[in-house]
């Protein structure tokens, strides 16, 4: 355990970078998810088609490939990104593409009566979305967004492969110096696990806090919840 104590300062710094990447990635994910998700619901094809293309493209090509593309291939096109920027950009666009499907699926599954009532009240489509559909959908999106966020946290470890000095990178370099592989890797394994439990608790708290209908929450079908992560 010596190495873990000797390097605890550096590991804590790495933990800080991991949390920073997670938070920045989460913000970008949410922004991307809502823009792409709402555009893909649009009746306007010049909004809908690019959004659908974006989602399919970023879901289909794989996160690590995208990250390496931003980091290694983009400079050949004359654009150099800092490692942290390349990492966060890839994370946000990739997880955002998954979360866009959550946004789209949840808003589409709102009861039709809500939309009809809003139309009957003479609300414009934009107002209907902003005042009726989105506020009602957010609690319903929370469980799926929780999955995306845990996924995001775990995937932040990939930024170590594009030279960002996050938790994984610190453990890996400390390992090459000290050779204390077991202790260092097990330590960060547990740290990631604790962080993902933390995100899980946070999301469950938010779910309880903002539950629209507690009964339907309890009855939520397990398979639907799993399937909802990818499609719907």
């Amino acid at each position: 355990m010596d190495a873990v104590f000797d390097y605890s300062g550096l590991l804590v710094q790495g933990l800080g970078v991991t949390i920073l990447v997670t938070v920045l990635g989460a913000i970008l994910t949410i922004v991307v998810a809502f823009i792409a998700g709402l555009c893909s619901l649009s009746t306007h094809r010049w909004l809908r088609w690019p959004a659908t293309f974006f989602v399919e493209f970023f879901r289909g090509t794989g996160l690590l490939v995208q990250m390496f593309w931003f980091f290694y291939a983009l400079p050949f096109l004359g654009i150099e990104l800092a490692p942290l920027v390349a990492g966060v950009l890839a994370l946000g666009l990739n997880e955002g593409a998954y979360a866009a499907e959550v946004v789209r699926g949840t808003i589409r599954s709102r009861a039709k009566g809500q939309t009809e009532a809003a139309i009957a009240l003479g609300m414009t489509p934009a107002l209907r979305m902003r005042r009726i559909l989105i506020p009602q959908s957010i609690p319903a999106m929370l469980p799926a967004f929780g999955n995306v966020m845990v996924d995001l946290l775990k995937n932040t470890s990939l930024v170590s492969l594009v030279t960002v000095s996050d938790l994984t990178w610190r453990a890996f370099t400390a390992r090459t110096v000290t050779g204390q592989t077991v202790e260092l890797f097990l330590t960060i394994l547990v740290l990631y696990y604790l962080l993902s439990l933390l995100i899980g608790w946070l999301i469950r708290y938010l779910e309880k806090r903002f539950a629209l209908d507690r009964k339907s929450l309890a009855k939520a079908k397990p398979l639907k919840a799993l399937a909802g992560r990818f499609s719907s």
Partner: protein, 219 residues
């Protein structure tokens, strides 16, 4: 020299296709491991045996809660220290298979849980033996709706296998990176493999959407 070198792109295709073939093999073998181990874990959890079942629950939660990259590092760098030495490839396949087994275990559980209680009651009323209830009633009904969900995990695994390039496996991404570092041209290899991943996973996800409409009961 132009930005995109087509002649170079064509010349590297044989290496990339070899990497793609290895990626497909890793995915298929890893997926079989995840299906088998996931089933064992799901059954252990279902049986509610003291100590063993909570351990299975912890396994699912712990494996899902930590990054695949770190798990691959642990297997690749820690196991040799314990005197267990495998080549990178089998290690990588087992790691990704075990990683996904935590997800497939949850899928099986969801498949069994969404079965209506009346089905069990009816089987009991007909005094069907327990194993026949499972084989004739539970499993056939539980499996159909989980096929699309498992299919989605197969696609995710195909893309996640790129992470194994970090433990020296020359699969699709690994082959692109090794070309990149020897010719110092990254644009062509990484762009091409991105499109290869897309060319396989996109049609598969369309197929799975079709299966979903057929297999998953709609409300």
């Amino acid at each position: 020299m132009s930005v995109w070198d087509t002649a170079f792109a064509i010349s590297i295709m044989p290496i990339l296709l070899k990497g793609l073939w290895l990626t497909i093999q890793i995915t298929l073998v890893g997926f079989v491991i995840s299906l088998v181990v996931g089933l064992v874990v799901a059954v252990i959890r279902y049986l509610k045996i003291p100590i063993i079942s909570p351990l299975a629950t912890f396994y699912v939660s712990f494996v899902r809660g930590a990054p695949l990259l770190v798990q691959a590092y642990v297997a690749f760098y820690v196991l040799p220290l314990l005197g267990v030495t495998f080549d990178a490839l089998p290690t990588g396949i087992v790691v990704i298979g075990l990683n996904y087994s935590a997800y497939t275990a949850e899928v099986y559980r969801a498949g069994i849980e969404q079965l209506h209680k009346g089905q069990w009651e009816a089987a009991t009323a007909l005094s069907l033996p327990r194993w026949r209830t499972w084989v004739r009633i539970v499993i056939p009904q539980a499996v159909r709706p989980i096929i699309p969900v498992l299919g989605n995990y197969l696609i995710m695994m195909f893309k996640d296998s790129a992470i194994l390039s970090s433990i020296t496996i020359i699969e699709l991404l690994g082959s692109a990176l090794s070309i990149g570092s020897s010719y110092y041209r990254y644009l062509e290899p990484i762009s091409i493999i991105g499109l290869m991943y897309l060319a396989i996973s996109f049609p598969c996800s369309l197929l799975i959407k079709k299966l979903e409409r057929r297999f998953v009961p709609q409300h």
